[in-house]
């Protein structure tokens, strides 16, 4: 599976990046390809391109604030959650998102 994710938290200095690291690690250990865009107080980093959006199977938004350029994902299946859930149990989060994705595709 190709996963793309965006993380963002209110202060944008810690949770954003902890969530990104956690998702990255969990996805790889579950055998998925992932790219995580961070929207911290510094702005957008590791930006997801439109081509990557096209190719992705699943979009995960782990954000406590409104994210920038959400319109990119409007034709995709989007799983929404909070940054803290991604930090605490990223594997369960990805599994749950994939379950919802496959139910959605039925």
């Amino acid at each position: 599976m190709k996963i793309i994710a965006v993380t963002a938290c209110p202060t944008g200095i810690a949770h954003t990046y902890m969530a990104a690291a956690a998702l990255q690690k969990a996805a790889i250990s579950l055998g998925h390809a992932i790219k995580v865009e961070t929207q911290g107080s510094i702005g957008i980093e590791n930006k997801i391109t439109l081509k990557e959006v096209d190719e992705a199977d699943l979009v995960i938004l782990a954000a406590d604030v409104a994210i920038k350029e959400e319109v990119r994902f409007k034709n995709k299946f989007v799983y929404r959650t909070e940054s803290q859930k991604a930090i605490k149990n990223p594997k369960a989060l990805i599994t749950e998102a994939l379950t919802q994705l496959s139910e959605n595709n039925k």
Partner: protein
């Protein structure tokens, strides 16, 4: 319903997250300009040196944008781009009407929902281009502006006035009680939603010229990571190797006021860690309140020392809280056997 409540928190946090850098500019520059100029007896702060005076003006300029930015980006969270303009306008009106941050929050929500509502109108195709450049901004600004001026502005200004003067004149007992609660909230979820509510309250009160709410909050912010870091140094046998390493990271994060440094410990052993950091932060904040510690920056930890009122007691309050957290968690913890620690330490990655 529950879903919309969750969204409301997200909208509010969006506004706060864009407002924070503005509060940093205003709070820090104003505090520094005054601190460097010194205070003349009987006259309060007098900034005469032209360079410091300009510094003060830069800070004041930032503060004058605080409420509009809060309102503008709450509306952005709700309605995306079309929300920003009416939100900023509503926010300036709120500031002019002396409705403060409460007025800004109300203006932001009105602007956001109105802009989102108009955005959703089904209009004939040839009218579509004029929607985002004329109809949405003009109509939403008129609605939010009218409501602010004729309906909600004045009562909110009254409420703000009562609240700030109440906080300024608050007796010591109430101040300590408030700080106990705020300190506990800061530590409870270490940067999560409960923490952010207390943090946000401290930040907006800086904008209202009340620094003694943020002072105790700034103390509470750094106690969980510093306390846990100290705990690993005091009783290394009670922590796994990974936790001991996280301990150094937590100390560094605590110094720069990042509460999240305590998360690896709390995630691994919430039952023992969370009560310890909550008690430490609550007591540290209460000590700070007892001695009128104030903070002019929307941030916590020793890093804000240059813009703290009563820096000596600020440090003392931190040390007391850190000590309590470290001792309490080490009393509660049992020594670990690393080989049993099969699923790691619960570090959230």
């Amino acid at each position: 319903m529950n879903e919309e409540l969750k969204n409301i928190r997200q909208y509010l946090m969006t506004g706060v997250s864009y407002m924070i850098p503005i509060v940093v500019i205003g709070g820090v520059l104003i505090a520094l300009a005054i601190a460097l100029s010194g205070v003349e007896a009987g006259k309060g702060a007098v900034v005469t040196n032209p360079i410091f005076k300009n510094m003060l003006d830069i800070g004041v300029a930032a503060f004058s944008m605080m409420v509009p930015v809060l309102a503008g980006f709450i509306a952005y969270g709700i309605a995306d781009r079309p929300g920003i303009a009416p939100g900023l306008v509503g926010g300036v009106l709120a500031a002019n009407l002396k409705a403060g941050f409460l007025g800004g929050i109300v203006a932001g929500f009105i602007a956001g929902y109105v802009a989102r509502w108009i955005k959703g109108w089904q209009v004939p195709l040839n009218l579509k281009p004029i929607m985002p450049i004329f109809v949405i901004p003009l109509l939403s600004a008129l609605i939010v502006g009218g409501l602010m001026i004729y309906v909600v502005g004045t009562p909110i200004a009254g409420l703000m006035e009562a609240m700030t003067s109440g906080l300024k004149a608050m007796g010591q007992g109430n101040a300590i009680l408030l700080s106990l609660v705020m300190g506990a909230m800061i530590a409870f979820d270490m940067g999560g939603p409960v923490n952010k509510v207390a943090f946000m309250f401290g930040v907006v009160m800086i904008g209202e010229g009340v620094y003694t709410v943020m002072g105790p909050v700034a103390v509470a912010i750094c106690i969980p990571p510093l306390g846990m870091g100290l705990a690993t140094l005091l009783a290394p046998k009670k922590y796994s190797e990974m936790e001991r390493e996280a301990g150094y990271g937590a100390l560094a994060m605590g110094m720069i006021g990042i509460t999240e440094g305590a998360i690896p410990f709390a995630a691994g052993d919430p039952i023992r860690v969370i009560p310890s950091i909550v008690v430490g932060s609550a007591i540290g904040a209460a000590v700070a309140a007892m001695f009128g510690v104030g903070d002019h920056a929307p941030h916590g930890g020793p890093i804000v020392l240059p813009v703290v009122d009563n820096p000596f007691m600020f440090i003392v309050a931190i040390l007391i809280g850190v000590g309590i957290t470290a001792v309490m968690v080490n009393i509660l913890k049992k020594p670990v056997h690393e080989e049993l620690d099969s699923d790691g330490t619960g570090i959230g990655a």
